[in-house]
Symmetry: D3
């Protein structure tokens, strides 16, 4: 069975990282993986929440959300429903945890950064695109703080590595990289892999609701995920060098 868009099993969709998409935020990146389109912004506040004052440590959190018609059928707004759904919270927590893995909160000093990842259009892989784009926005925000001499350490001390994420899935016993929505729904098993620039794992989440998976399958998915992340790390670096 061929991939819907004719890609090879180990091929990413076209990925673009557009920096400075918005004028207001300290970091702002429109990230696209094929038709998936997420606006990642990094908002800096000098100072930290009250319970953290005087600790010398900074603070980084993330919030993920989807526009109501980012998807094929419209979803009700969580603001109108009056509560944030489980999926949204789970992804927000994952993004925050992943990005905190590359940041030295002591070197950041008592500054707070909120990473907002708003999905403008969804076609699979929104959480991994969010993480990949949020890293670039975070880098711009840290550089902005450096420009104001507001960091406790240097930029490359604050951000000692980069963070990327990609999805992988199993189809008829073969692993595929970077699933679009159609593949995501059809996959027996799917996994999200979050890596550092060095290829170390930050987070690995594999789920088999439509079927279980063997160790060999898990290994094949991990191999592919690590390859995809390395490619994304190069794209991030290129975007930041532009």
């Amino acid at each position: 069975m061929a991939r819907p868009d004719g890609r090879t099993a180990d091929q990413l969709r076209p990925v673009t990282l557009t920096r400075h998409w918005s004028i207001h935020p300290e970091g702002s990146v429109l990230v696209e993986f094929g038709n998936t389109r997420v606006l990642c912004t990094a908002s800096v506040t000098e100072g930290v929440p009250r319970w953290r004052k005087g600790s010398g440590l900074g603070w980084v959190t993330a919030e993920y959300s989807m526009l109501p018609r980012a998807t094929n059928t419209r979803s009700d707004r969580e603001s109108v429903k009056g509560k944030v759904g489980g999926r949204t919270q789970e992804i927000s927590r994952l993004i925050g945890r992943s990005l905190r893995a590359c940041i030295d909160l002591k070197a950041l000093g008592e500054n707070s950064i909120v990473l907002d990842c708003d999905v403008l259009q969804a076609d699979g892989g929104t959480r991994t695109a969010s993480i990949t784009g949020a890293y670039v926005a975070l880098h711009d925000a840290v550089t902005w703080l450096a420009g104001r001499k507001a960091l406790a350490g240097k930029v490359d001390k604050v951000l000692h590595t980069s963070i990327q994420a990609i999805s992988v899935g199993m189809f008829d016993g073969a692993a595929r990289l970077d699933l679009d929505y159609e593949e995501d729904v059809a996959a027996a098993v799917d996994m999200n892999v979050v890596c550092t620039a060095e290829g170390d794992f930050v987070e690995v989440q594999g789920t088999g609701e439509n079927g279980v998976f063997r160790r060999a399958e898990l290994d094949a998915m991990l191999d592919l995920g690590v390859l995809g992340c390395a490619e994304l790390a190069a794209l991030q670096q290129k975007a930041l060098a532009a």
Copy 2:
């Protein structure tokens, strides 16, 4: 006192209406008034809410929202706060009311259309940009229904006119069209004018929290608002003809 961007008092900011910005919605328009940028989508559901079934009438509503970092400083998400604020509800109601003024719900037949106006970047005039863009998205959605032969009437019966909106304000006794954020904050009085293509009023809202206003000032603002709306009507028509 000159305008921040050098415009004349009766000059609109550069306005663009980009149709088909997203792939999923039946109508989707990115509207820009200078730096103000709103994604307007129209989502069609065949059928109406239960309490309206069998009436032969359609249903049109609107929801407005801002991304947390659409503005200069980050706002907390209404989904996280667990309630929709007064300003948001007020604008959602205004957009819905304004657009219902151009639609014949009987000719629409038992179809529902939700207009989502999500502010991606704010620089004044987000509610009037939303109304102006939402009309174009609504037109595309009605045309989509016509293509599926799902309307009770023809497109130009369903939409018997077009709807535009613009803000106006008073500065040192003189009226100005299409305020940006800096002007909006500084204006003694400001007014939102919603018109039809024929130049009739749909809604007029003038507020003088920083000062009251005389009849002559009100008249000057109305004159300017009607002119601005006529210009926007032409831009909408051009966009729909493209």
Copy 3:
């Protein structure tokens, strides 16, 4: 078509302003416009919210609400639904904005006043009756503060004018003043006008959900609204002199 209660087009319903209706609040007025009956109370707290401390400025806000059976059919309580509806918030904001137009927050000094407008019985024009009654309650509260020597300025410096509001509507091309519920539902267009004692506008809101309106109609409604407000200003003055 005659008016339901036989009034002329420019005639107000019988208006009464009963001061000191309740024993606890610093200002308390039962305002009646025909069958519309609103209890307006002004509650004073010496001091201001924390974020305003040390500014030397006072604070005035308003909250509007309807008893569940103020209307012809019972509405669910917003406390039970767990959220304040859009209409309620919109009117609360309008009342607060209108009353702040007559008050000098510096002369008020660091005192807070909450204006509560609770509709005990509704028959059209509840928001304009609320504004008209709230002004009188506010005046009593400011006088109470003066009696305790708690103002930064004199009473007539704190309240440099009075505020009134009235509704107007169009019927078969003719304007009518002070619509009752039956007329409000039937009107093609209706407008709320908020004025100062000098006849300047504080707020003008015209809506044409059942039809659009021309400039000449808008002018006719504004003329009538200004006349009605002048009459209400005299009634307020008389009530305060009693």
Copy 4:
């Protein structure tokens, strides 16, 4: 220690029951016990909630609430806080339970009645005033249903008795009837007694947060409560005969 208003220990405050206070509800009574003033309305819906359809039984519930400035200092609105407090719910449940004790739901037929008790001014005893007033409003609503031939039984079958309630408290070993706010705060023990016209108990709630109570004290409070209820039953009967 004398009573603040000079009453004897077994004397009620002046009680008034004003029927038809509002024009919209099927039953509407302004009940006053001294300065305590509660608007009790009874709202009829023909039909019952879905889960009760076809049972042949009617449905009676109650909701209690206080205006924010009914008391000496202003309370935040429960609608604004987004939740109904424990005290409010407790009293709503008590009123509903008490009134259901006098009604034959089978004879009522499949009709629903909501009793709203809104405290306009509070000076102690608001829950017992609510019960006493709500009975009269309920009687008017049942009579209204009878007038429309919508009852399954006759009025005096539907309402086989009347319901009254009064508070009692202990002061220096002596029981007092119908406490005002000042006494309520000072009482070592207080009790609410709900009775039928026959002097039977519907509900007895005695609380000693400021001290415990002996059997003899409980007996004295019950004696006084029964006497007070009998007096109220006569006042209700007189009001209904007017």
Copy 5:
């Protein structure tokens, strides 16, 4: 009609009080009345809420809750519904009020104790079992504070008596002690009695939703309730001595 489990009318179900059921809380008691099983924990915080600081007084509150499947059919979680129901709040308030009757808040000093009563299995009498068990947990928590020399007074000054509670009901004119669920549903009238070790009343709540009750019946229920409480006081003392 005999009792479902063959008890005599004045006989308690088997009651057990298991102290130290959990390892974390300062006081923790599993209380069982037949099949009713409640975990009562007392959590100590040194210090009091901000508004109470410097008063020299401590603070005791209670929260009651049921596991979703503590009952015969599953109830939705109040956390998922987003609000605490009226019954839950009513019982939480009753438990807190009852326990505060035995504690000298001045002798407690500026310490806070939260009593959590979580019903693991329900078979009637959960609120009275909660009160009875919470007293023992409270005693352990106060003793724990004494061990840390954190009390302002001695343990027997802080807790000057013990608190017990039991339910009673009327069946065919005869009173029965400690109703199980089946009896609770069938009783015409039921009453909860809360006493001190000396047999004084702290709280008396009698309700006749399925019928009213006469003075003689009330007297019979009170007699039985006092007897039951005395028996429970002995069991508490024995548990605390173990």
Copy 6:
């Protein structure tokens, strides 16, 4: 560094599975992993939610929660806060997804099962204990349905395998099985592994918030997790055979 309780790296804590702990639920298991103690109940409803009617498929969901004092310091109740936290939702979703991996919803027929996992005492590994215990409760509930001849298939068709879960963590480069709370906090990396009786993976979640992890470390953790799950599968089987 030795383990706090002296276990070897690959040793589980003492695990007990007590069936029929409660009298009401169709399945009810108290699961203990050392000091971690979770009450897992399975509640059966014949029928499925409305949107699933007529599909021939059953429905299984899970809800996880902690008692406020299950932990070392008391947490506020989510019911009181008015919303379910992100961690709670994430774990509820994980439990539901894991258990659905072993159930054939077609063979279950149109029956619904809710798995409630309430943590009575927490000492690390509450989510994995919940999954392990919930499987046994689910088995009892399916058997109960079989006894009522309410299944579309046989028990061993409905439950084609068993589900177990365990945590693993890295300490100084070595993997450890079944972390208690103290170890969980100290681990550089930790992972939750969910398996079937056949040793296939259902879910794998590894997180390195305190540090990243290499492929070799991931492999060591997976090896240990699979061993631990096999041991748990045997314990489940033994409990179900008892």
